[in-house]
Symmetry: C2
C-alpha cells in the first residue's frame, strides 16, 4: 500500500483518465463507459484508501453530473429509495435501543450465558440470525435487529467505536454481523428479498425449487459455514479481548442491579417486537419495510424515548452511510440500466466455450461472485446476471438445478464482499467499528471461504436436489 | 396553550379524525381531502407543540402511506429533490466554515466594526444579504452563505445552541436571517428562483416587468422593511445581550492573536468564494445549485478540512432538517398536484365578487399570504396560485401591474411565515437556536409587518410602475 495519500490520489486520477480515454469495448455506449470509469475509480480509491468512502462517493457524484454522464435527478435518485430510508430508520431505532437501556439488558443476558469468550458471543449472534432468517425475509431488516444487539454487546464488553478500544470486541463482532447475513440468507429461500426472484427465473428454465428443496440443499454448506466462519474470522481478524471468564458473573450482578424494566425499555421492547412482527408479515400484509421502521421510529420519538436531541447527536453516523450508500447505489444501478452489466456478463460467458461442464461451472460461479465488486445491490445483480449465467451453464452441460441453486447461494454469500455489497451491510459498515478497508479485506477472505465451502458442497447439492 | 402534552395530542387526533370524516367539499377527491387532513393536522400539531416538527412529520408520513393516501414512492420522493440536497450540503459546508476557524475570523471582523450592539450586527447581516441578493438568485443558496456567518457571530458573542445562552444573541440573529431573506428576495427580480416565473406569468396577462421596474417598485417598501424589521423584531423577540460596548476592542485583540490565515481557512475561503461565484453563475452555466454545494463539500472533505468524524458529530442537525423538510415538502406538493390548492384558490377568489377593487386587492393579497401556511415551497405556491389570483384581481379592476408586482413581492415576503415556508429557512430553523414555535410566532408577526409595509407602499408601486 502506497504511503503518501496524495500519490495514491494522483494514481487514481491517472487510472481514471486512462480508462476514460480507452477505446470503448463491446459496442458499449460512451455514457456507460464513462459511468463505469467513474464508478470503478471510486471503488479502487476506497480500496487503496486514497479517499474515504464518503469523499470518494461525493467526488464521483460531482464528476458524474459535471461530465453529463448522469442527470442530476438520476444521480440523486438513490436518496429516496425506500430501502435507503429503511437503513436510515433502522439505524436510528438501533440508537434508541441502546439509549433506552434495552440493548444493555439484552447484551447482559447474552453475556451472562455466552460471555466467557468473544467467540462464543459471535456464535450466539450468528445462531440468532439463522433462527430468525425464515421469518424476516429481508437481510436489511434483519441487520436492523442484529445491529443494536451487537452494538450493545460491544459497548458492554468495553469496546467503543471512537477509540482504540473498538478492536477489543466491536470490530470483530460487527464483521460477524456481515458474515452472519451471508449464511442466514443462503439457508432460507425466504431469507433474502431476491431469493424468490431467482427461483422464479430458474422456473423459466424448467427448474423447480421449493422452500424445502432449497433448505435441504443449503443445509450442509450453511452448517459448515456456520461452524467455520466465525472461527476463521476470529483467526484472521482477531478481537483484542478474547477470553473474559469473569464476564458472565459480572453481567449477572449488573443485571440484578438494573432491576426491573424501565418505561423506556418497555416501549422500546414493544417497538422492537412490533417491527420484527410486521417485518415478518410485510409481504403478506403488503407493508413497505421502510414504513414499518419509520413507524417504529415515530413511536419512539413521540413517546420521548428517542428525542430530537438524541437524533441530533446520534444522527451523523446514520447520515454518513445514507449519503454514500445512496450515491454508490445509483451509480451501480445506472450502470446496470445502461446495459453494461449484461454486456459484461455475456462477454464473460462467451469466453468460456470449449471447457468441460465442471470447469465452466467453476469459472461461472467465481466470475459471478467477482463481478459483485461492481454492484451495490444483491437484487440488481441477480436481475442482471442470474439468467445469463444460468443459461450459459445449462448450455455447457452443468446440471440445471445445481447451477440454479449455486447461483442463488452465491447471490447471498457474496454480500460480504464490500461494504456496499448488500444494504444489510450498511449498519455494520457505518457503525464506526469498521474501516472500509477492514470490510474489503475480511469481506474478500470470507467470500473466498464461502465460495470454497459452497463449491465443495456441490456433490451434496446435486445429490439431494436432483 | 394547553399545558399537558397528551391533552394536546388527543386534541390533534380529534381534529384530524373529525376533518377526515367531514363531507368532502368543492368536488375535491377523497384522496386530496385525506392528504389535506393529515397535513393540516401535522401543521396544527407543530404550532400547538403537541409534537416536535420531526415527530409530526414522521407520524404524518406513516399515516399517509398506511391509509393509502400516497404511495411509498411518492411519500419518500422529497428525499432526492435536489434543493433538499442543497440544504443538506450547505448545512455541512457551514459546519466546516465554523470548524475551520474562518467563520470565527469573519465574525470577529464584523464584531470589530459593528459589535457594539446586537442590533448593529443584525443590520450588518441584512445589508450583506441585500447586497449579494442580485448575484445569488436562490434564497436557499444565499441562506447557505448567511448561515455560517450568523452561526459564528452567535458563538463569538457567547451564544450556543444547546443551552440557555442561545437567547443571548443567537436566537435573534438566526430569526434575522429568516427575516432578511424576505427583504433581499423581494428587492431583486433575480433574488429568488421563482421571481422570473411570476414575471413570465404576468407577461401572459400583457404586463411587462423588467429588472429595473421591479427594483424601482420594490425600493420603497424594501428600504422601509430593511429599516424597520430588524428593529421591530428586536422589540418582539429581544436578544438577552443587547449592548456589548467592549466587544469591538476584544475582537480586535483576538484577531491579532489569531495571526495569519491557517491552511484550513485558506481552503475554506476558496471553497466558500467558489460556491458564491458558481451559485451566481449557475443559471448562465446551467449548473445545478446542489451540485455546486456538494462539490464544495467534496473539496472540504478530500482536503481533510471537514472530516468524516466531523460529519459524524455535526451531521445529526443536518439530518433532522433534511428528514422533516423532505416529508412536509412532498405532502404540500402532492396536495398541489391533486388540485387542492387550485380549487381552494378558485373558491376564495369567487367569494370576493361585488367588492371595490381596493377591497378585492386587499383581500386577495392577505388570502394569498395566509394560504402559504399550507405550502412548503415558494415556487409551488406561485405556480399554483399566482395566475389565479392575478386573473381575479384584474377582473375586479385592480391595476394589473400593481396586482402582479404585489403578488410577486408577497411570494417573497411570506417566506418567514413558518419554518418550512421557504427552503431558505431550513438552515436557520435547524440551527438549534430556534424552536419551531419561535419561528411560527415571530414569522407571523414579521409577515404581518411586511404585509402592512408593502400594502402601504401600493401607491408608490402604482405610481412608478404604470
Amino acid at each position: 500500500m502506497l504511503k503518501n495519500i496524495w500519490i495514491r490520489r494522483i494514481l487514481i486520477v491517472v487510472i481514471g483518465v486512462s480508462i476514460w480515454h480507452l477505446p470503448v469495448p463491446w459496442e458499449l455506449s460512451q455514457q456507460s463507459w464513462q459511468l463505469f470509469t467513474i464508478f470503478f475509480s471510486a471503488i479502487i480509491a476506497i480500496i487503496i484508501s486514497a479517499f474515504s468512502v464518503l469523499s470518494a462517493s461525493l467526488v464521483a457524484l460531482v464528476v458524474t453530473v459535471l461530465t453529463g454522464t448522469l442527470t442530476v435527478e438520476t444521480a440523486l435518485s438513490g436518496f429516496s429509495e425506500s430501502f435507503m430510508l429503511l437503513i436510515l430508520a433502522a439505524f436510528l431505532v438501533s440508537k434508541a435501543v441502546v439509549r433506552s437501556g434495552l440493548g444493555h439488558r439484552i447484551a447482559l443476558i447474552l453475556i451472562r450465558k455466552f460471555g466467557r469468550s468473544t467467540l462464543r458471543l459471535a456464535y450466539c449472534i450468528t445462531a440468532t440470525d439463522l433462527l430468525i432468517g425464515p421469518a424476516i425475509p429481508s437481510n436489511t431488516a434483519r441487520s436492523g435487529i442484529l445491529f443494536p444487539i451487537i452494538e450493545a454487546l460491544s459497548i458492554d464488553t468495553d469496546s467503543r467505536p471512537d477509540d482504540a478500544s473498538r478492536s477489543n470486541t466491536g470490530s470483530y463482532l460487527m464483521m460477524c454481523g456481515i458474515v452472519s447475513l451471508t449464511i442466514s440468507s443462503s439457508l432460507w429461500l425466504t431469507g433474502m428479498a431476491a431469493n424468490p426472484i431467482g427461483v422464479e427465473i430458474a422456473a423459466g428454465y424448467g427448474i423447480s425449487i421449493t422452500f424445502g428443496s432449497w433448505l435441504l440443499a443449503a443445509l450442509v454448506p450453511c452448517i459448515a459455514a456456520f461452524v467455520l466462519l466465525p472461527y476463521l474470522l476470529y483467526l484472521i481478524f482477531p478481537p483484542s479481548i478474547q477470553f473474559t471468564p469473569e464476564a458472565p458473573k459480572k453481567a449477572r450482578e449488573e443485571l440484578q442491579q438494573m432491576g426491573r424494566f424501565k418505561r423506556e425499555e418497555w416501549i422500546t421492547s414493544g417497538v422492537f417486537i412490533g417491527m420484527v412482527v410486521f417485518w415478518g408479515l410485510a409481504s403478506a400484509m403488503n407493508l413497505n419495510l421502510a414504513i414499518v421502521a419509520i413507524a417504529g421510529l415515530a413511536v419512539l420519538m413521540t413517546t420521548g424515548v428517542f428525542q430530537v436531541e438524541h437524533l441530533r447527536s446520534d444522527g451523523g453516523d446514520a447520515l454518513e452511510v445514507f449519503v454514500w450508500f445512496s450515491i454508490l447505489y445509483v451509480m451501480s444501478n445506472s450502470l446496470n440500466d445502461l446495459g453494461f452489466m449484461t454486456t459484461l456478463g455475456n462477454q464473460i460467458s462467451q469466453s468460456l466455450t470449449g471447457l468441460s461442464w465442471q470447469a465452466t461451472y467453476l469459472a461461472l460461479i467465481i466470475l459471478y461472485v467477482a463481478i459483485h465488486y461492481l454492484f451495490v445491490s444483491q437484487t440488481a445483480h441477480l436481475l442482471a446476471l442470474y439468467g445469463v449465467f444460468l443459461g450459459v451453464g445449462i448450455q455447457a452441460g452443468v446440471p440445471a438445478v445445481l447451477m440454479a441453486l449455486m447461483l442463488s447461494f452465491a447471490t447471498n454469500f457474496f454480500s460480504a464482499l464490500t461494504p456496499q455489497a448488500s444494504s444489510g451491510n450498511a449498519l455494520f459498515a457505518g457503525s464506526g467499528y469498521l474501516e472500509s478497508q477492514d470490510v474489503y479485506r475480511n469481506g474478500l477472505l470470507v467470500t473466498v471461504l464461502n465460495l470454497i465451502i459452497f463449491l465443495l458442497a456441490s456433490p451434496w447439492i446435486l445429490w439431494v436436489a436432483q
